[in-house]
């Protein structure tokens, strides 16, 4: 299994892609996943994180098979 990583809006432009697959390792967090899949760039300030579509912080741990999303502050309405 692995972690599905998705990017939206300006984060999609920042990374140059819509998604990645990250091999699962125990005790992975959203931050370590970012560092693994986007090693060339630091995560932008104010980036929001969702794990399985629920808001979490960068230190939240991730389980095998989870979907992790990175995106900027939302601007709907």
């Amino acid at each position: 299994m692995s972690i599905k990583v998705r990017y939206f809006a300006s984060l999609k432009e920042f990374t140059g892609r819509e998604q990645d697959e990250c091999p699962y390792q125990p005790e992975m967090t959203a931050q370590t996943i970012w560092d693994f899949v986007v090693p060339e760039k630091k995560i932008p300030l104010n980036t929001l994180v969702a794990i399985n579509m629920q808001y979490e912080n960068l230190e939240a741990t991730v389980a095998d098979g989870d979907e992790v999303a990175f995106f900027p502050p939302v601007t709907g309405g």
């Binding site: 300006s10 969702a50 579509m53 502050p73 939302v74 601007t75 709907g76």
Partner: protein, 151 residues
Amino acid sequence: MINITENAFNPYQVLQQYQTEQTHLQAKQGAASIFIGTMRDFNDGVDVKGMTLEHYPEMTEMQLAAVVEEATEKWDLLDALVIHRVGDVYPDDSLVLVAVWTVHRGAAFDASRFIMEELKSRVPFWKQEILIDNSKRWVGKNTDGYQANKL
């Protein structure tokens, strides 16, 4: 009902049809509060000729349903209707419709404000504007939510 759509909609026609179909509201509703958000042709001092609304489909539906559920529990709503556009939109297009039906006016006002503020602060939509010179820019942060904006 929640509807996220790529299609343009006329909020007044939608409301008239929806309310007619909601027979459970007849003689029970005492108040309805309606918010319609419309695209302007300017923002932050710049002319805007179009916009693309991106979203995170599965999470958008989940978060929006949670917001409406919270409002329903908090204010005992009789019904709620939320429609939000995604995709390419243009000035004067309706972007969002929030309508709630309640027994008394206070709950209607408060619940519609709550749904809008929470939508703007936590439901994953993003606006990218197309300016008059065809350049594009992402709209910055919206709002901190209902509590932060409560009068």
